[in-house]
């Protein structure tokens, strides 16, 4: 066994995410009209399998990267871990940890003030009003909105909008963070600040992270393990160096 591995092995943190034999399929029956169902034959429910028999686990505080071509099921898998849809078979066990998919401005209402939107969005993310209130000042400070925080959202510029959205997501963090592409928002300065904050969240040992990205160099630098999804199946999982190398050669062929 190599030295690098033995360091991780001796610490043995608990498993935070356990995904077992997960299959996710969509029934393709969008937008039936009455005319369809009455006058036309039902062509059976066509089923599209997006994720097939995927199993893996992530230890607490670790970072798992997911790579794969477009349409290989990465986002679907991420969303089902985030609970947006349940898998058709198999199980996802988060061992009681809270989870959120990092997305900006969920449930924002244009007519309400920034402050009110922090509460609404936070509650939707699963935080109690009390928890949100405790971090309210921190969020407002990070967002750099100043007095605008009590103005309705429709008066915000798009930059201010995304600053608020990012601050909520970054400061109301859950145990498990799911990231679909690392992003930065706002102007040049806030962009740097938000990118740094995101990296801080990711590498922080408190959080377990699963991230989807196409940025191979960044993944190589920060991930503990990389999973390569190909056509919904696990093609390879293991140390970033070897998986990413194979993936890179596959993609450039």
């Amino acid at each position: 066994m190599e030295k690098n591995d033995s360091v991780i092995m001796t610490e043995q943190p608990d498993i935070a995410i356990e995904v077992k034999d997960v299959c996710i399929s969509y029934r393709l029956l969008p937008n039936i009209t009455m005319k369809h169902s009455v006058f036309e034959e039902k062509g059976g429910h066509e089923v599209f399998e997006a994720v097939k028999n995927v199993s893996f686990s992530v230890r607490e505080g670790e970072i798992l990267g997911i790579v794969g071509e477009n349409g290989s099921g990465k986002s679907t898998l991420l969303r089902s871990i985030g609970g947006i849809f349940s898998p058709n078979s198999g199980s996802i066990d988060l061992k009681g940890h809270s989870v959120s998919l990092m997305a900006l401005g969920i449930g924002f209402k244009d007519t309400l003030s920034g402050r009110e939107n922090i509460i609404l969005s936070g509650m939707l993310l699963g935080f109690s009003e009390k928890e949100i209130m405790q971090r309210m000042d921190e969020i407002i400070e990070f967002s750099e909105l100043g007095e605008f925080i009590d103005m309705p959202l429709r008066t915000y510029s798009s930059g201010m909008h995304s600053k608020l959205a990012f601050s909520i997501t970054a400061l109301l963090e859950s145990d498990i963070i799911l990231i679909d592409e690392v992003f930065s928002v706002g102007d040049e300065r806030f962009g740097r600040k938000s990118f740094a904050k995101m990296q801080e969240l990711i590498s922080d040992k408190k959080h377990t992270v699963i991230m989807v990205s196409h940025n191979i160099r960044m993944m190589l630098k920060i991930c503990n393990e990389v999973l390569w999804l190909h056509e919904g199946r696990v093609r390879e999982i293991g140390r970033p160096m070897s998986v990413l190398k194979h993936y890179y050669f596959f993609m450039t062929e």
């Binding site: 969509y26 029934r27 393709l28 029956l29 969008p30 937008n31 039936i32 009209t33 009455m34 005319k35 169902s37 089902s80 985030g82 609970g83 947006i84 849809f85 349940s86 959120s100 998919l101 997305a103 969920i106 449930g107 209402k109 007519t111 309400l112 009110e116 509460i119 609404l120 509650m123 939707l124 993310l125 109690s128 009003e129 309705p152």
Partner: protein, 266 residues
């Protein structure tokens, strides 16, 4: 087995999300106030205006007069608008909230529930006007007035129950809103907003139509309790509550089983 499991999830999720539903309802009400010109006055003006239309058409043109006719119509309209408004909204619940649904998990009926709180609040304001009108007309009241509480409970339950089922089919069936619109119009005329079903339709059909249609029955019951000092049948109140609960559980179960495929259809 499945039903028991879904009932448990329903109880758990309602506890987890009702605060959000309340907050969202409050936000929606505030938004409506900010967006309209006469603010919340519209919540009073709209039903009052509708009442005038119906009084003119039925009271003057067709000469159908019930005792305390304006209050009679106003109660009917208030309760009917609550039912019909929620039913129409339920169809678009998922489509309208795709921004939330595609990014975070929330039991979809919570969004409907929140809208029902909004419409329920408006209904209560309308009932405030009913109380005012009852004072103006000096309508004598009795203790039977308290029946209005279980009556409104039943109305809420039955509306929620029908709403969950339409919420589900609204995702997949694009033209459901047209069909529902026609069905609602039909139901409106059958429910006796501006006439007494049990009295105007010859027996035995009048009574059958009133008792078999929960909305018609609830309207008649509300009028009995509020303006005619009449007791309401407990048996029917309980029966409709039970039927409402069963349909609700069916709808909730339908949503739980299918909500993971909603995302792909919108």
């Amino acid at each position: 087995m499945r039903f028991i499991q879904d009932t448990r999830s329903f109880y758990r999720d309602m506890r987890k999300y009702y605060r959000y539903a309340l907050r969202l309802a409050k936000a929606d009400l505030e938004t409506e106030v900010i967006n309209s010109y006469l603010d919340w006055l519209w919540w009073l003006l709209e039903p009052l205006g509708m009442m005038l239309v119906y009084i003119f058409i039925y009271g003057v043109v067709f000469n159908v007069i019930e005792e305390y006719f304006s209050v009679f119509i106003f109660i009917g309209l208030t309760m009917w608008s609550f039912f019909a408004g929620n039913i129409m909204e339920s169809i678009f619940t998922v489509r309208k909230n795709s921004g939330i649904i595609s990014r975070i998990y929330i039991p979809k009926y919570i969004l409907l529930f929140s809208r029902m709180l909004v419409n329920g609040f408006k209904m209560l304001i309308s009932f405030g006007i009913v109380a005012l009108m009852m004072l103006i007309y000096r309508i004598p009241v009795s203790v039977h007035i308290l029946y209005i509480i279980p009556i409104l409970f039943d109305l809420f339950l039955i509306t929620f129950a029908c709403g969950t089922i339409l919420l589900h089919y609204g995702v997949f069936v694009r033209d459901l809103s047209y069909v529902t619109n026609i069905a609602l119009r039909m139901m409106m005329y059958l429910s006796g907003i501006f006439y007494a079903v049990g009295k105007r339709i010859p027996p035995p059909y009048g009574e059958i139509m009133e008792k078999a249609n929960p909305i018609a029955w609830l309207l008649a019951a509300a009028r009995d309790a509020l303006i005619y000092k009449t007791a309401v049948s407990w048996e029917l109140l309980v029966l409709w509550a039970v039927i409402g609960s069963l349909i609700l559980l069916f709808g909730i179960s339908l949503i739980y089983r299918n909500e993971n495929s909603y995302m792909r259809s919108i």
